[in-house]
């Protein structure tokens, strides 16, 4: 194992999959000559050439659809959105074409495509550039959605996504590109299955269910709570769909108390689905009502203080944990 950044981990995943399979290509805005808006594709143009690392004009709907068409005839496109906030311009292709093709064609055309890029509120980008899209896409049948929070998960999930025979969205955490973590050396194949959560920290009093940018938040809060004699277990979903129910139920059956800290909004958000499944399946395990920390139900404001208030933060998470622990 060695320590690398989230950005490097994604770059390694792309390079390894491009190397492994000539049908894989990377397409998006500024992915080639500019080396990626977030430098995730650094060096790939030089290594793989302009046939496989392809710059596009600003035409998300056009190039997302181009990817779907190429996938229908057997290529394995990786389509980068500069941010998933811009994927909304391509919503029709991601929602109406990619996941519907297999059903509509009676199973004749699967679409092995990866849509990837940063997702979730970053820092003072204003409402149009701060979308957390996971609940929008996870509600669409036929789409798989993963949300890596660590360099290791980023590499392993992206490689798995590229090899999946269906459309997969890899929602990268915009604020975590420079974060570091231990990852297997490049000569060891690292594939992390979709739909498998990971307990990032063991605990016995309360389960904090989190993903993407809320994972480091949950880990920080869990460390603080230790000082107050609250032992929090941190469950990183890693994939939103498929959802690892078993991991959630196992943790909740151990701690009997749950806080879900999600990147998106509460209304029809990821947490709503998890909450439903917990009460439906393991109601008797609960010692307190399930609690959620989500974005406030307003467009994300630019003002720094107000933005902090809108997004899930440590204060809100600590308060929610104490509430379910009756502490």
């Amino acid at each position: 194992m060695r320590e690398i950044t989230y950005r490097q981990a994604l770059n390694e995943a792309l390079a390894e999959e491009l190397e492994r399979d000539p049908n894989v290509f990377l397409m998006g805005e500024e992915v080639a000559e500019y080396q990626g808006a977030y430098k995730v594709s650094q060096g790939l143009l030089e290594r793989f050439g302009p046939t496989r690392i392809i710059d596009t004009p600003i035409s998300e709907n056009g190039f997302a659809g181009l990817g779907v068409g190429a996938a229908m005839v057997g290529l394995r496109p990786i389509i980068e959105f500069m941010t998933f906030s811009f994927s909304l311009v391509a919503f029709d292709q991601v929602v109406n074409n990619a996941p519907n093709m297999f059903m509509m064609s009676g199973g004749q055309f699967n679409v092995p495509i990866t849509f990837r890029g940063p997702n979730g509120p970053a820092h003072q980008l204003g409402a149009t550039h701060s979308h957390a899209t996971e609940n929008l896409y996870a509600s669409v049948p036929g789409l798989k959605v993963c949300t890596p929070a660590t360099p290791r998960d980023a590499k392993g999930l992206l490689k798995t996504a590229v090899r999946d025979d269906n459309p997969v969205l890899v929602l990268e955490a915009e604020l975590l590109y420079s974060s570091k973590g231990m990852v297997e050396p490049p000569d060891e194949e690292l594939l992390i299955p979709l739909g498998k959560a990971e307990v990032k920290r063991e605990g016995s009093d309360v389960s904090i269910i989190c993903y993407a940018q809320t994972v480091p938040l949950a880990l920080t809060v869990a460390a603080q709570l230790e000082d107050e004699d609250i032992s929090a277990e941190v469950v990183d979903l890693r994939s939103i769909k498929p959802l690892d129910e078993e991991a959630i139920f196992n943790s909740v059956s151990k701690t009997h108390r749950v806080v879900i800290v999600e990147q998106d909004r509460a209304f029809c958000g990821v947490g709503a689905e998890i909450c439903y499944r917990i009460q439906k399946n393991i109601f008797d395990e609960l010692d307190a009502p399930v609690s959620r920390v989500s974005q406030e139900d307003v467009p994300v404001p630019y003002n720094e203080k107000l933005e902090k208030f809108v997004l899930p933060n440590a204060d809100k998470l600590i308060a929610a944990v104490k509430q379910v622990c009756y502490a």
Binding site: F25, T51, T56, P57, S59, N61, G62, F63, A64, G65, L66, G67, V68, G69, A70, A71, M72, V73, G74, L75, P77, D92, Q93, N96, N97, P99, M101, F102, M103, M104, S105, G106, G107, Q108, F109, N110, P112, P141, G142, K144, D165, N166, G195, K241, P242, L243
Partner: protein
Amino acid sequence: MQRAEQRDEVEMLAMMLLIRRFEERASQQYQARKIGGFCHLYIGQEAVVVGAVAAVRNDDYIITAYRDHGHALARGTSADACMAELFGKETGCSRGLGGSMHFFDKQNHMYGGHAIVGAHVPLAAGMAFASKYRGEDRVTLCFFGDGAINQGSFHEALNLIALYKLPIVLICENNLFAMGTSVKRSTSLKQIVDRADGYDIPGEIVDGMNFREVRDKLAEVVGSIRKDPHPAFVEIRTYRYRGHSMSDPASYRTKDELEKYRLDDPIIRLRAQLTREGKLTNEQFDAIDKKAKETVLASVKFAEKSGELPVEQLYEYGCYNGSKQ
């Protein structure tokens, strides 16, 4: 490879008749409530797709919008599979899961049947991109209606297609109406082909009621693309005899206008050409028509007796290797 001029014109006439008779029967079955959802008929436009298919190889890619029955039939999908799809049966070309607007036939390189106007033009770009990526000399034929040319996805795709020099023929089937809105009321241009100018794509206008003109122009364009990958735009002027869909009486146009086009019917025209040249007798034509009617009638029987996909198998079609999540 089968070259365009080698395709027998009598066979092509038979295909146009098959499409005509199929659509007439579909209309009747729709009214008898055997067919659900929306149903858009291709009657009047037969020479467009049959002419185009006559100009390409069997392994060239074909993709179209929702008025797609003719495209599947012309590509070689059986009338049985097409009618069964309309009936929602498992033996349909999309196993009864796509319906009228989503005909697919991978074996015959028919890539749909797409029902969001303009949204398949980027897909066509991707298919052509894949051909070029692999160094194949396949050409993609992308059909769309006059209604698609004002959609954003169309414009984004055309720019990408021109930018990457993709091997594709963009075929606008201009039947003068996007649903009930005439081109004059929807489009700022005097002629649709001028859309291609904005992207430096060469464009041509073709008479879509004339099978030979469609075939010959397409053969020329496709031949040039095969030698050196590039896009081309063809505006094919045609006319649909029926309303936009089964529920549309088409009261936005006059009987005189319809009659004018009926007199220029593509089937009558090709029949007259072949008869004049001594390649077709009246008896032969009647026999072809009789066969088309029989084939279509048999397809209704086939669709009626076919089964439906069992509910237990539904989730297998949710995604590839799918299961309930």
